[in-house]
Symmetry: none
């Protein structure tokens, strides 16, 4: 084998790899569209491959099954969320809930098609790392860096993180049906609730 053919081989492999990557990206984009439109269960492989304009068989060259495609999609979006939130939070002097929550909603809003489907279908998909776990995990990290740890004494951190996750998730699910309010206002609503709680009069007698 001479230099030339080696080079050619490399190029050919590159071409193949590029093409492969392109097909995979097409499939993921199509999957996202289809999942968002039909929900996890009603989306068929055929729906996805048709949307991606590839043959049915091609799907299986890239994903083992529907679960894997879905999880890949979710993971991808989540890694981006994590990275972005981490970057954004680091650019501030301190990791605060305020910054974190704003960052989460900003990102989630941009990707609300996938997020709402992930939150709605999560429990249906066997192997999925539940979306809530990721959010809860991020919150726990914030909680652990609280300047006065004694403030959280008496709280079950795990449970607390979950409950807060519930508020955030519900905010995202809200966008399932409507686009208003936008991410900043949504974050403000959530933060107001989380910071001060509800009016005391809701908890006590009224006479």
């Amino acid at each position: 084998m001479n230099e030339d053919s080696k080079t050619e081989l490399t190029i050919r492999q590159h071409r193949g790899a590029r093409r492969r990557a392109k097909t995979r990206a097409d499939l993921l984009a199509a999957a996202r569209k289809v999942f968002a439109k039909k929900g996890y269960h009603d989306a068929s492989i055929l729906d996805i491959t048709e949307a991606a304009d590839v043959g049915v068989g091609t799907f299986y060259l890239h994903f083992a099954d529907k679960d894997e495609a879905f999880n890949t999609l979710i993971d991808e979006v989540f890694h981006i969320l994590e990275e972005q939130v981490i970057t954004e939070v680091r650019s501030h002097e301190a990791i605060t809930l305020t910054v974190t929550v704003h960052s989460i909603f900003r990102h989630a809003y941009a990707q609300r098609d996938l997020f709402s489907i992930a939150l709605a279908s999560g429990a249906q998909v066997s192997r999925t790392i539940r979306v809530e776990d990721t959010i809860a995990g991020g919150l726990i990290r914030v909680f652990e860096q609280v300047p006065q740890p004694e403030d959280l004494q008496g709280y079950d951190i795990q449970l607390l993180a979950r409950l807060v996750t519930g508020v955030i998730a519900q905010g995202i699910i809200w966008w399932f049906d409507q686009d208003e309010p936008g991410p900043e206002e949504m974050a403000n609503n959530v933060l107001a609730l989380l910071a001060h709680g509800l009016p005391a009069s809701l908890f006590t007698h009224n006479n």
Copy 2:
């Protein structure tokens, strides 16, 4: 037809009706077990009828399809929840969140198999009144009876109810995997969060 045969007929009908009611109850109990174990989508009619120890066809004598059985189940539990919560809340001098939340968790804990499945599968079932809607609706009623309405000025009541629902739902979903803490402690955790919010230090700089 004489009196005797009339009586006999009545008894006969009663017997038939009783048998029918029993079968229906068996089916609902089986459906509940199966849905809780497999989730809505992976539960098949055959799973349910086998668990109920009746023939496949019998299912269709009582329900039009899987959806109807699921909805019946959910509706049933929800009507009981609503009634119970309303009764319990009324027995107190005032409708407060404290009482409401305790009542919800107490009931939901007792029925946690169904509740977690309802919260997890809700979006999958076409006609279902989403569980969250019911909870949010109840909360709105509480909000509207707040003694000082000015306390809630500036809040979007609908959204607020949803966010609070998120906390409560997440508390119930927590029981999907574990039984601890029990309903009273769970309610206390949730109420603490809702009453005072999180420590201020989580929202501010730490220098």
Copy 3:
């Protein structure tokens, strides 16, 4: 057993027998209505028993299965047809096709709901004596009584009877969709065709 109870028994049996006969008649009337409306295959036992306002099980006290009910219905109508045609034909001086065909159409028109369904579904029902057989049989009897048997020499009587049956059957099927023309005119049309055939010019060149 004394005379009285014997008498009572007889009466009771009579009552039972009468009731039984009534139920059976109800079922047959219902079956006729349902078959006419839905056709043989789409008619279900439940359809019939509901129309007859009896329990499903009752059907099986009177008929072995759907086939038997259908055949009974057909047979009944046919025996009446046969009897009526025979009586009517006998009242004339000679058995002629003219009289026979008129008689058939008159009777078939009165029962056209059943006849059309019998002619349309006949082949679907396994054991059915095909309606056409009955008609053809009647025709053969007429043919055999022809005053100058030599007139029919060279004909395959069986086949001929069948072909003529085809014309008659088609006349009855015509009433499947419409009620016009009535039986007498229909008979005249058929007889015209059978008596003289079609215009010769249809069979020959036209130059």
Copy 4:
């Protein structure tokens, strides 16, 4: 993509298409056999796919349901019949019933398995263009070209065509059970009846 791979692609497509076409043809042949043997209603999809030696699902790759397969079959045969009869009739100097009837029987005999089933099951299949309609339509066209239209005055052409169709159909149904007589003799029998009618003595008194 270079010339070579284009060619290859073409071949590949051709291969796939050829396989597909073969499977479809197998299915139609099997359907024909099964329908002829069991009748429309008693033929199941499984019967057909087993006869065609393909998987159940394959059936649905080619036909939406049983109806569509049946109609396809009927349509196919009918188009061939129509074309063939038209061609054959045109090759003669004039369109006469003689030629038409011979042509119909010749073709119907060759396809008698399908024809008898089509004539027997026609009314059972929802969307089917009833076979009789096609025959009657053809006859009407012949009638309309009769050289002396006054010959048909006083006839209801529609009804007449139907009645004649009845004769022809009955001739074809005759072959349901037996193969004799062949098409030419059958046509002669039918034409004899249609040309001259039955002996006058059948219609009149015998003294």
